[in-house]
């Protein structure tokens, strides 16, 4: 056990936390001593919460260098979160700002017994604990073990289930991408500060566009950096997940909006027509996969039969062609979510303010311009909501579709992260690695959610 390294790293985190929180306390007009005290406490608590359950195993003698770095990263990450929490707690205005932003919903207040709300919440809490928090804790535990489904015997694996996924295959990619991200973000940060005082006008609009563009590039660079971190095997999973998710969400929303605009036109029988369009939503993901399989199968599919009998051509086999396989999975997923997206877009189109449309028309805006400058912004809350739900769908629900369409093939080219997790843990019966991968996926979703709420959320117009 490399005790000095462990002690030094934890102490270092505590010291940094103390320094930062002392500074923060002073800025917020609180006692420096309080800040320093909170800093030491949180700086110790954060890393210890992570490392004590692990038994500081990343500092064992037989661990690899990668395991050690992983352990240090865990300590640093836990410290970072602790410092953020401490800073928010010290900031007297934080709660007020949260309420202003609308993140903190505080509508009703319970009077009387303090027990009543908890009693009322109890059924939900019981369900959450039994079916969510307890399994999540078990997943955390499993991810540090060599554990096989159907075999009660276990062996401890420290963090190797995670570090196995990380490989130094593309160091240049990581370095280039991270430096790009840092540069872009620093630039946008400065731009934002300078912009704060500027009056509203074309110049400010240009800067705003540039900032949006920049932060998109920054996110792309971070995704590239993450892609470069994995081993070749897991990088393939990451890339496939990105292709299929982005394809499903972007393609799905564009197509849904297009069809919604058509279906929104006042035509005879529109009600029936719209009802029929919503239909695919009622079908479960595996059935969508099965239907597309029945259509596109290159050996006995319906489309193959038509193409063959009408044109005398052979349909290319999507199950032995990676790009085609991904395309078919994306198509099936888009079709499956189409009804859901349509439902929201059609409803959304009905809420676009008529007076704004009329005003734009009087100002001489063409139908394309009206769509771009009136309809799209008015739909932005719905689009934001749909991006979130569709991404969740693409991450977690495409499993059934993929299982029936391609079974993850050809050679893993449609094996998204979720499919890989199930494939590893259930047919592969490797619970430990499956749990580790599911936590990686969980981390990805948490990051994505934070990013969505920070960037897209800011741009959403709720019309107030």
């Amino acid at each position: 056990m490399n005790v000095p390294l462990a002690v030094i790293s934890v102490t270092l985190v505590a010291a940094v936390a103390a320094a930062l929180l002392t500074h923060a306390a002073a800025t917020f007009g609180r006692s420096r001593l309080l800040g320093a005290f909170a800093g030491v406490l949180l700086g110790l608590a954060g890393p210890l919460t992570v490392m004590v359950p692990l038994g500081f195993c990343t500092f064992d003698d037989e661990t690899t260098t990668l395991d050690r770095w992983f352990g240090l990263a865990l300590i640093a990450g836990a410290g970072f979160v602790a410092i953020l929490l401490g800073r928010t707690a010290l900031d007297p205005d934080a709660a007020k700002r949260r309420q202003q932003r609308g993140d903190d919903v505080a509508h009703g207040v319970f009077r009387g017994s303090r027990l009543a709300p908890w009693l009322l919440l109890a059924p939900t809490l019981v369900v959450l604990v039994v079916f969510l928090y307890w399994p999540a804790l078990r997943t955390l535990r499993l991810s540090t073990q060599l554990a096989r489904l159907g075999a009660p015997r276990r062996a401890d694996r420290c963090v190797s289930n995670f570090t196995e996924l990380v490989g130094p295959g593309m160091p240049w990619l990581v370095v280039v991408a991270i430096s790009t991200a840092i540069t872009v973000w620093t630039a946008t940060w400065f731009a934002r500060r300078r912009m704060a005082g500027r009056p509203i006008g074309p110049a400010r609009q240009r800067v705003e566009t540039a900032i949006r563009f920049g932060s998109t590039i920054g996110v792309g660079a971070v995704l590239l950096a993450i892609a470069g971190l994995w081993t070749a095997d897991y990088r393939a999973v990451f890339v496939v997940t990105m292709i299929i998710s982005i394809g499903t969400v972007a393609g799905g929303l564009v197509i849904a909006l297009g069809i919604a605009c058509l279906a929104y036109q006042p035509i005879r029988g529109a009600g029936l027509y719209r009802t029929l369009l919503v239909w695919p939503y009622a079908i479960s993901p595996p059935i969508a996969g099965l239907l597309f399989f029945v259509m596109f199968d290159a050996n006995s599919g319906i489309i193959e039969h038509w193409v063959d009998s009408i044109f005398g051509l052979a349909l290319p086999d999507y199950r032995t062609n990676a790009r085609l396989a991904q395309l078919v999975v994306v198509l099936a997923s888009i079709w499956k979510t189409l009804g859901y997206n349509l439902l929201f877009y059609i409803a959304g189109l009905q809420t676009v303010p008529k007076d704004q449309m009329e005003a734009a028309m009087l100002d001489g805006a063409g139908s394309l311009q009206r769509f771009r400058y009136v309809v799209l912004p008015a739909l932005s809350p719905i689009t934001f909501f749909l991006v979130v739900t569709n991404l969740t769908y693409a991450f977690f629900e495409t499993y059934g579709t993929i299982d029936y369409l391609t079974a993850g093939g050809p050679a893993g080219q449609t094996s998204v992260a979720m499919f890989e997790v199930i494939q590893t843990a259930i047919p592969g019966r490797d619970l430990g690695r499956g749990a580790a991968q599911s936590l990686v996926l969980f981390g990805g979703v948490v990051a994505l959610t934070i990013w969505q709420f920070r960037s897209t959320g800011r741009r959403v117009s709720y019309g107030n």
Partner: protein
């Protein structure tokens, strides 16, 4: 070999669901067509309900098997016959979708103190089943042979364990005894569409890889050529069969039979040769890869739709495939699985299938009933009927004699192939089949590698070398837990 039926019934369910959704009526559309799987599913649920009611009270014992189609019906019928002639507890049969979920359910029931008496588990998981323990650390199964304890009959049912055909006996006899009772047993055989071959003017039956290749080339060059010439599922079983045919081992310590296997050999010359032959056939447009691993359904359909004249498959579906020909108006012939003509002697085909395992810790009465049922299931009449219904080999010599005396093999030459192929194998560790830990997961590593080779055009030796590394890691991990 379940998947084809699963998919068919799934298709039927889709059609059913669509129709039900479309007309909003509650007509029973899912039951139409040739989908035994879809209408047996409710039965399984019903038996599950009754099974939960009173399992340990002594008036019934549970038998869990991994079939949900006509084979479940067949087994339930045999159980009914058994219950009629037995005074002990009734045998209740329950079907599961696949072996894995069956095993998981068994383990769960065992940990809750409410296990079934007999469960079916497949050949590749033999090591896992022997090592299986419950949460309390007690073994899950007990040896069938030691539970029989030398008796000639149990509850009036004659014991058939010493009459099991050699190939199955060799596979399942470990350390000198049967730990489980063989039941559904098959081998990999080839099926030919003789009508297509005749139309192409291609004669004879291929025995070696070279024969097959030249016949396929002739076939594809003819006017009667179809999309391609041959297909078979990318299932590890066929690779294992080929390695055994060439007399090579899959694991050290005599395929894990003289001691626990500690090294797996996925990159042996025999394996590389077979995969190279396979890829060569694909490269020349003679073999169709359906693009999915373990695709029993897609390969079967290609043959049944007369898109290929050759199919390497499991003999378990001999009856079904022969009937496809009868119904589809073409002649189906069964023959030996083609072998490597360059391989030296010492090899032969191995079995596949599953055995019945006896759960440990049953009361004496329940255990005897379970043993009696296992032997009843394999009595000559039932074993012969099982063979006629499905195509799994007749598992005892007495059942073979019975079938011969009835003239079955003369009328159905296709049904004799699997037994003949297995009987022709030289007795050796190679043809006994490999026993090793995490075998099921290692199989998947192998088929993943083969898919990579076929789809991405990789070098077989190099890619199998990578698969070997992954497989060895899996074996090491298993031996760390159970060794």
């Amino acid at each position: 070999m379940i998947p084809r039926r699963t998919r068919r019934s799934a298709v039927a369910v889709v059609c059913g669901a669509l129709l039900i959704a479309a007309c909003g009526s509650d007509t029973d559309t899912a039951d139409s067509g040739d989908t035994p799987g879809s209408d047996t599913a409710p039965d399984a649920e019903n038996t599950a309900d009754t099974g939960d009611a009173a399992p340990s009270s002594g008036d019934q014992i549970d038998v869990w098997i991994a079939f949900t189609d006509a084979r479940l019906d067949w087994t339930e019928q045999v159980a009914a016959d058994f219950n009629e002639q037995s005074d002990g507890p009734d045998v209740v049969v329950q079907g599961y979708e696949d072996y894995e979920s069956l095993f998981d359910a068994t383990l769960l029931a065992f940990d809750q103190g409410n296990p079934p008496a007999v469960v079916q588990y497949f050949e590749a998981a033999t090591t896992e089943a022997r090592d299986a323990v419950g949460a309390n650390g007690n073994p899950l199964f007990t040896s069938v042979e030691s539970a029989i304890d030398g008796r000639d009959e149990i509850n009036g049912v004659p014991v058939v364990l010493d009459d099991i055909v050699t190939a199955a006996a060799n596979y399942y006899t470990i350390d000198g005894t049967f730990t489980s009772m063989p039941w559904n047993t098959s081998s990999s055989t080839m099926f030919l569409n003789r009508s297509l071959l005749d139309a192409a003017g291609v004669e004879s039956t291929p025995e070696t890889w070279d024969d097959l290749r030249s016949m396929c080339e002739a076939y594809m060059a003819s006017d009667a050529a179809t999309d391609s010439c041959i297909t078979w599922p990318n299932h590890s079983w066929f690779l294992e069969q080929s390695v055994a045919q060439q007399g090579a081992l899959l694991a050290n310590n005599d395929n894990g039979r003289s001691g626990r296997a500690s090294e797996v050999m996925l990159d042996s010359d025999a394996m590389v040769d077979y995969v190279s032959f396979w890829k060569g056939m694909q490269d020349d447009g003679l073999y169709t890869y359906t693009g999915i691993q373990r695709d029993w359904g897609g390969t079967y359909d290609l043959f049944a739709a007369q898109k290929v004249p050759f199919l390497v498959y499991s003999s378990s579906d001999t009856t079904l495939l022969t009937d496809e020909g009868v119904n589809g108006g073409f002649e189906v012939e069964s023959s030996l699985m083609p072998r490597n003509g360059d391989a030296t002697s010492g090899g032969g085909n191995i079995i596949g299938g599953a055995t019945l395992w006896l759960v440990d810790g049953l009361g004496e009465g329940d255990q005897d009933t379970a043993l009696a049922f296992m032997n009843f299931l394999n009595n000559p009449e039932n074993a012969a009927d099982w063979h006629r219904t499905t195509g799994y080999i007749p598992i005892t010599n007495a059942s073979i004699d019975l079938l011969e005396s009835q003239g079955w093999f003369d009328e159905n030459p296709n049904s004799a192939v699997a037994n003949a192929q297995l009987a022709a194998a030289e007795e050796s560790p190679a043809t006994s089949g490999a026993l090793l830990g995490n075998f099921v997961a290692i199989r998947d590593v192998l088929t993943e590698g083969v898919e990579d080779i076929l789809v991405n055009n990789l070098d077989p030796r190099e890619r199998l070398g990578e698969a070997q590394v992954d497989a060895q890691r899996l074996l090491n991990e298993y031996n760390e837990l159970f060794g």
